[in-house]
């Protein structure tokens, strides 16, 4: 199994509060991704990183920011959570120049009240 750990696994918060989700990998892979998964939409890319301090936006990046200060850690921040950001968030990694298969973490379920 790919060494990917997400924390927290579950979180309930209130509208307007900041939230940070953490993804930690032990594989030393260059590429890391944050996806959200919602019924009827499948997995949608929020942001990805192709190296330390190198990040780019995905298709649903509004309201989210990311940071990667170390190879092993990729943080997803919701500056001011909204109910539309209630979702399951998955971190993923790939090592083959960003074009090989993805390996996913167990997910973080976020509920914004």
């Amino acid at each position: 199994d790919a060494g990917i750990t997400q924390s927290p696994r579950h979180k309930v918060t209130e509208t307007g509060t900041p939230v940070t989700l953490r993804c930690h990998q032990t594989e030393n892979h260059r590429y890391m991704y944050w996806y959200r998964q919602d019924p009827g939409h499948g997995l949608r890319l929020i942001h990805y990183s192709y190296g330390v301090k190198d990040t780019d936006k995905g298709e649903v990046s509004d309201g989210y920011s990311v940071s990667r200060s170390k190879t092993e850690d990729f943080l997803l921040t919701l500056e001011s959570a909204t109910s539309s950001q209630t979702s399951v968030y998955f971190c993923a990694i790939t090592g083959q120049g960003g074009t090989g298969e993805l390996f996913f973490g167990e997910g973080s379920r976020l509920t914004v009240l």
């Binding site: 990917i4 590429y31 991704y33 996806y35 009827g40 939409h41 499948g42 997995l43 949608r44 890319l45 990805y48 192709y50 780019d56 995905g58 298709e59 998955f90 993923a92 960003g98 074009t99 090989g100 298969e101 993805l102 390996f103 996913f104 973490g105 167990e106 997910g107």
Partner: protein
């Protein structure tokens, strides 16, 4: 816009009843077609990658095939433990575009 669609949305099979899941994509210049299995409350688990039309890959009761516009996941003599959601995806730049999945239930 590149899209990935999957059918059926849900499928119920009796144990041993073989069937196929469909994944259709509109991207030109496919770089890779991926199949994943997702169990409830878990992250997707990688199954196969296909790169060119005519390619086939097998793993236990699963076989994935690829044409120019579609991929099929054939399930032969399924067992209840094959029950899961099956996702397909393709490469799009540095992104992976996912389909909505097929929810498979195999009844004993």
């Amino acid at each position: 816009e590149d899209q990935v669609t999957q059918s059926p949305e849900a499928l119920r099979l009796q144990e041993g009843e073989s069937s196929s899941l469909n994944c259709s994509y509109t991207v030109s210049g496919l770089r890779g077609l991926f199949w994943y299995r997702q169990d409830p409350g878990k992250g997707p688990e990688f199954l196969f990658t296909l790169y060119s039309a005519g390619e086939e890959k097998e793993k236990e009761r699963l076989k994935a095939t690829l044409t120019k516009k579609e991929s099929f996941l054939h399930i032969t003599a399924p067992k209840p433990e094959d029950s899961a959601t099956y996702l397909c995806a393709h490469n799009y730049g540095q992104n992976f575009v996912f389909g909505p999945g097929t929810r498979l239930s195999v009844l004993p």
